[in-house]
């Protein structure tokens, strides 16, 4: 997990304010706290520590109205989600009187409270609270606005690290605390996953702003990430589900950073945030064009790029049990993979195949070297993940063993 998060630093190399780094680091610390916490209080503090700096950072462009709007939305919903999570936690505490995960599940098991309605209510509250953080339907509405308003590196961070934090928290809580009521939250989560994939994709189809497009696409990707978790909740085979979710998350992180990098480059170059006006700019910088193509097709899940393996493990885990819910989710996912291709391919269509707007105009394409490093690193990992996925599935396996016992 640490490995996954640290990569983001390179991305932020072009902002120089001390506070900026301070806030980013605090958020990172929060993320690390979440992934290593084993009781309710610590995990709550971790979640808040990870997200509070982001409220500030997403409003970093002070003069920009969109940035302010996005930050306010993010803040209000963030606070709401915090209170939901806290309410959920307080119900558990009231029920069991314990804070440490292991004790809670032991208590629940001893008193066979697994199917108690209070526990289910608390699970729903926690899922909704964290659902805001990972922006799944129906708690996704803040994401596109905030993503659009925030400085691009922050958006990348939001869509990757913050999201990863949310997922880790969700995985930890659901499999450690609510282990025994998997049947009920599994179904809820499965519905959420299916809706998230579909809605995110359908809305993404309509977008003209590349950042909003990525925002909706990342909503739909979130659906893919929670789908295996949902099915594993129903069947009780957590190892397999966590393996798929985590592998997807890791691979997704790299290609998504890459995608934001491309968007950043092209928006800076064209000064236009409507990607239909990016016609033919791959001719100005074939390198950036190729990178963009790689990232977007990887997000679409085309082999030999990393994304295919991520999608593959998810399908594999969904089908592993032969449960009807798993199979239906897999079919929904397969259809969505095709829908997603349409808008991912649209970007490369525009940059490669459309005509240049002003062919005479000579502009130098800026591709700063720190960004080149990010590009090279993410593209390398995208390819490695696609051709030798063994390495990444190993990471996923480690975490599934870790969570499994």
């Amino acid at each position: 997990m640490t490995f996954l998060l640290s990569i983001n630093f390179i991305e932020s190399d072009k902002f120089y304010q001390g506070e900026y780094y301070y806030l980013l680091l605090s958020s990172l610390l929060g993320a690390l706290v979440v992934s290593s916490s084993r009781d309710l209080l610590t995990i709550f503090i971790g979640i808040e520590l990870a997200s509070t700096p982001m409220f500030l950072l997403s409003g970093w462009k002070k003069g920009d109205r969109k940035s302010n709007e996005g930050a306010i939305k993010f803040f209000l919903l963030g606070v709401l989600s915090a209170s939901l999570i806290l309410y959920g936690f307080s119900l558990i505490y009231g029920l069991t009187g314990q804070l440490v995960f292991a004790d809670i599940s032991a208590y629940l098991l001893a008193n066979s409270l697994g199917s108690s309605p209070v526990l289910l209510l608390s699970a729903i509250l926690v899922i909704s609270g964290i659902g805001f953080k990972i922006s799944v339907v129906p708690f996704h509405s803040w994401a596109p606005d905030t993503y659009e308003g925030a400085p691009l590196p922050i958006t990348a961070y939001l869509s990757v690290s913050s999201k990863a934090t949310g997922f880790v928290a969700l995985i930890v809580l659901l499999t450690k605390v609510f282990e025994s009521s998997g049947q009920s939250w599994g179904v809820i989560l499965a519905i959420v996953a299916g809706a998230t994939m579909t809605l995110g994709n359908l809305v993404a189809l309509q977008q003209t702003n590349p950042v909003r497009l990525l925002a909706y696409s990342s909503i739909s990707q979130a659906g893919f990430i929670i789908a295996p978790l949902a099915v594993s909740g129903i069947t009780g085979n957590y190892q397999d589900g966590i393996f798929a979710s985590v592998t997807y998350l890791i691979i997704y992180a790299f290609m998504n950073i890459g995608a934001f990098l491309s968007v950043h480059l092209f928006t800076n170059f064209t000064k236009s945030d409507n990607f239909y006006e990016w016609g033919g700019i791959a001719k100005h910088s074939p390198l950036a064009g190729v990178l963009t193509t790689v990232f977007f097709f990887s997000l679409a899940g085309i082999p030999p790029l990393g994304g295919w393996f991520a999608k593959f493990v998810v399908f594999r885990s969904l089908l592993s049990t032969g449960e009807i819910i798993g199979i239906s989710l897999a079919i929904v996912g397969a259809i969505n993979a095709v829908i997603a291709l349409v808008y991912y391919a649209r970007i490369s269509k525009v940059i490669w195949m459309d005509e240049l707007k002003n062919p005479e105009e000579e502009k130098s394409f800026e591709f700063q070297s720190p960004l080149k490093v990010v590009g090279a690193l993410t593209v390398l990992i995208t390819f490695v993940a696609g051709i030798f996925p063994g390495i990444f599935s190993y990471l996923g396996e480690v975490s599934s063993i870790f969570f499994g016992n």
Partner: protein, 522 residues
């Protein structure tokens, strides 16, 4: 020689083009000659490598998978890098490396607009890796990866170098360039099929001892490991994945668009090799692993093939666009291939194998010719063409020859596939509904007449007659050296296969017979 037999040779045939493509991108744009020379040399070396495999291949054991190996690839899901060839894949592999050489020879002088040899040639080479890989892969996941790798280069080839004519398409508000519409349609259709195919592969994996290895799954499948509704569904999704690629009616609609829009070389590769990936998938994966289900589905496949044959021919009769006509003729010809496969008899599947190779050679040549003519005349409208024989005697003569081959003239390659497919359909595997198959056979026979009809009519409109005034004043260039170098080998191959079909059957027959006897017991 050791290197050739232990799998390294096959691996080289698959990955050499990819590596060359990477090197190609590193050569500066200004060195155009070097770029072209390098691509040509690398494709020739790949072809020679694949030809060197021939003497190593044990033809007396053509039913066994040979020259391959198996290396662990993704341990956590038990997917391996397992490759090998047998009599079924060998001819297709050679065809693929061979056609690529010709495609590159043609591209040296005849690059489509916008000219940028580097990207275009690199894409051809990447495409070759995907095609070769699909034919040698013996692991479902490996197969899937190669099957999909093909999509990207073809998408860009159509999208960047394709036909720029603007037209109105149903469902779109604005007019759209043919290439943009065709490229995304091609991509979405194929991905739709293969996304479901992947689900089918996973189904096999979970019911079949958690292995993706094709030989192991065949072993399991022939011992009746896959039964019931589950297996029927798996066959249905595999069918969907492969049938889109073939393409079978009614999933064919991407094909005429893609072919018409693609640059000449793109249509050649698409017709000659890419379509074969689908029918090859049926023979390699769907039928041997799920024999009982194949038997249950066979009548449906036969009916769809028969519709495809008739529909393709009728659509051809209605075309005014030369390239679109040839594209629809592919639907008809692949219908014969699928009819042969559906009969599930040695004769039918052998027919399918030779039909695939022959269609690759003949239709490939037809696309070369039509592409070249479209380039010379700047139109593909058959109403405006005419008197081609007088204007471009060399191209015209070749067009006449190829059209004859395509309509199945005995003595040329096209004959065997059609004739034997009909023969196979006359006497399908025991237990299949004879009425359905004989009905399909009759439909197929009517199809051959229609095929002859539209091809001869095409010749009459394009080749014969007096050239219209439009062309009289114009300076028209007949085929040049590069074009002839790309075309003549295909002509020779057409005649060779037509006269000695044993060239193909020698390799395929044992493999086909053993495949069927394993699947259906004797």
């Amino acid at each position: 020689m050791e290197l050739l037999t232990n799998g390294t040779g096959l691996t080289a045939v698959v990955f050499l083009p990819l590596i060359s493509a990477l090197i190609l991108t590193a050569i500066p744009k200004s060195q155009e000659l070097l770029i072209k020379g390098f691509a040509l040399v690398s494709s020739i070396v790949t072809f020679i490598l694949s030809a060197l495999l021939l003497p190593q291949f044990d033809f007396s054991n053509a039913d066994k998978l040979q020259l391959g190996n198996k290396i662990s690839w993704i341990k956590s899901i038990n997917a391996n890098y397992e490759i090998g060839i047998d009599g079924i894949s060998l001819p297709l592999l050679i065809l693929s490396t061979f056609i690529t050489v010709l495609a590159i020879i043609y591209s040296i002088e005849h690059l489509p607009e916008p000219k940028s040899p580097k990207g275009f040639l690199a894409l051809i080479l990447v495409l070759e890796t995907g095609m070769n890989g699909t034919f040698v892969a013996l692991d479902l996941i490996l197969f899937f990866v190669f099957f999909e790798i093909v999509l990207l280069p073809m998408y860009f080839m159509i999208g960047i170098w394709g036909d720029k004519t603007v037209r109105t398409v149903a469902g779109f508000k604005n007019q759209i360039e043919t290439r943009l519409y065709a490229s995304i349609k091609f991509f979405v259709f194929t991905l739709f099929g293969s996304a479901f195919m992947l689900l089918g592969f996973l189904g096999l994996y979970y019911r079949g001892n958690r292995t993706f290895s094709i030989p192991e799954l065949i072993e399991l499948g022939t011992n009746g490991a896959f039964t019931g509704t589950f297996a029927m569904l798996v066959f249905a999704v595999l069918f969907l994945g492969f049938a889109v690629k073939v393409p079978m009616w009614p999933l064919h609609t991407w094909l005429p668009d893609a072919h018409t829009a693609a640059p000449t070389v793109g249509s050649v590769l698409l017709a000659a090799i890419l379509l074969k990936l689908g029918s090859y998938g049926f023979v390699r994966i769907a039928i041997p692993i799920l024999p009982e289900q194949a038997k249950a589905w066979a009548p449906a496949i036969a009916i769809l093939s028969a519709i495809g044959i008739i529909y393709g021919s009728l659509a051809c009769l209605a075309q005014t666009d030369l390239k679109r006509l040839i594209a629809f003729s592919s639907v008809g010809h692949m219908g014969f291939v699928m009819l042969g496969i559906a009969s599930l008899t040695p004769i039918g599947i052998n027919a399918a194998m030779i039909g695939m190779v022959a269609h690759g050679v003949i239709t490939g040549l037809l696309f070369f010719l039509s592409g070249s003519m479209a380039h010379t005349y700047h139109t593909r409208d058959m109403g405006r063409l005419g008197g081609n024989m007088k204007l471009l005697p060399k191209t015209g003569a070749l067009l006449g020859f190829t059209a004859m081959a395509s309509l199945g003239l005995p003595g040329l390659a096209g004959f065997w596939g059609e004739f034997m497919a009909l023969l196979g359909a006359f006497n399908p595997l025991d237990g299949l509904n004879v009425t359905v198959f004989r009905g399909s056979m009759v439909a197929g026979a009517i199809g051959t007449v229609l095929t002859a009809g539209y091809l001869l009519w095409m010749l009459q409109r394009v080749n014969l007659g007096e050239p219209s005034d439009e062309w009289k004043e114009m300076e028209l260039h007949d085929a040049d050296g590069y074009e002839l170098a790309a075309w003549i080998p295909l002509v020779i191959l057409t005649i060779l296969i037509g006269v000695f079909p044993k060239l193909i059957f020698g390799a395929t027959n044992d493999a086909v017979v053993s495949l069927l006897s394993k699947a259906f017991g004797g």
